[in-house]
């Protein structure tokens, strides 16, 4: 009886471990132009097409740069030149579509097509800038943030 129980639970535990490891990937870079980088735990990685994006990453672009990312919930997020975007939180349950997507645009420009998280619950996606907090009730929007020009 007990061995049957272990035989049942062990694969479940293993499967869970695999799922958690895969869940670290929040999205993948699909477009990249000019100078563009990902900062991950103090390291700088080139933001090339195909590069995985994780929760906690900061994506930055130079004066000629831009990056486009498709997230696991099919949100499409892209930034223009001289931009800094932090992926503060990304949690997505592919069965229930529940979770959370928090991002901060510190400077620059951002284009978003929201995905399954925002569709499932209007509170799930939040975008912050140094001046404002955005609540996303779905679909497509643009953000520009920065100090006033003289």
């Amino acid at each position: 009886m007990r061995s049957a129980l272990i035989a049942l639970t062990l694969p479940m535990v293993l499967a869970f471990g695999v799922a958690v490891a895969a869940a670290q990937d929040a999205g993948q870079i699909k477009t990249s132009k000019g100078s563009a980088q990902i900062e991950r735990s103090g390291q700088k990685l080139p933001a090339n097409v195909g590069q995985v994006v994780q929760q906690g990453d900061i994506v930055t672009t130079g004066a000629d740069g831009s990056v486009g990312i498709t997230f696991r919930d099919s949100s499409l997020v892209s930034i223009g030149p001289d931009s800094v975007l932090a992926i503060d939180r990304f949690v997505f349950d592919s069965t229930t579509h529940q979770g959370a997507f928090d991002a901060s645009l510190k400077q620059g420009t951002l284009a978003v097509v929201s995905g399954k998280l925002a569709k499932q619950s209007p509170e799930a996606m939040k975008v912050k800038t140094p001046a404002a907090i955005l609540g996303v009730r779905g679909t497509e929007f643009l953000v520009r943030t920065g100090p006033a020009k003289d």
């Binding site: 993948q28 099919s74 069965t95 404002a132 643009l142 953000v143």
Partner: protein, 212 residues
């Protein structure tokens, strides 16, 4: 016990204590000229539906819910509703819009009741799926199983996942180009045709292959 802290405050020179009171006045003076160049714009959705966006800065709030409705934040704590346009958006956000990834495209394969067997008409779709994969940079496919509403939710979660896995195995047999594949079971949560519980509906027994 708290005496040292208080002494420290008292020991500040008079000009420093006045500075604390002057700071909000200085801020008020700044409000006249803009300190921020922030712009938030709601776009019409490509699917014809326009969503909504709330923009909140220190308690001031605007809801944008029409195409090209926009908000300017010139100072923290002020949100001005304005109207943008397609032309202005291109000028202000051109490179970010050009960098947008291609939109995901979904294909649907259908199944025989309570099985993971393909309905015959679904087999022809596979070539279309491969062609879509070939058109994309760093392509991924998300394979998402669905069921009709016959059976308990937990049972349908398992069945939908099994259908998705079956699809993945079939695609792998066909030497699909090397791509990232994820598999999910949505159970009966997302019917293509809404029905009452326990209704058999072939159009809901399907697997979605989202190429992105």
């Amino acid at each position: 016990m708290f005496a040292p802290a208080r002494q420290k405050t008292d020991s500040l020179p008079v000009w420093a204590r006045n500075l604390v009171w002057l700071a909000p006045l200085a801020l008020t003076a700044l409000v006249g000229c803009a300190t921020r160049n922030d712009l938030y714009v709601l776009l019409p959705g490509k699917d014809g539906k326009t969503g909504a966006l709330t923009v909140e800065s220190e308690g001031k709030k605007q809801t944008l819910d029409t195409p090209y409705a926009a908000a300017r934040v010139k100072n923290v704590g002020s949100v001005d509703g304005v109207k943008s346009s397609e032309a202005e958006v291109k000028q202000d956000f051109g490179p970010a819009l050009e960098a947008q990834p291609k939109r995901p495209v979904s294909f649907f394969l259908y199944f025989l009741a309570d099985t993971d067997e393909f309905a015959p008409e679904s087999k022809a779709l596979v070539n279309q799926i491969f062609a879509e994969i070939a058109r994309r940079p760093a392509p991924e496919i998300a394979i998402i199983g669905h069921t009709d509403r016959v059976g308990a939710q937990a049972y349908n979660d398992t069945l939908s996942l099994r259908r998705a896995e079956r699809c993945r195995d079939e695609l792998l047999k066909l030497r699909i180009p090397k791509v990232r594949i994820s598999v999910a079971g949505r159970g009966e949560r997302e019917p293509e045709v809404p029905t009452a519980d326990e209704v058999a509906e072939p159009r809901n027994r399907r697997v979605e292959i989202s190429v992105r």
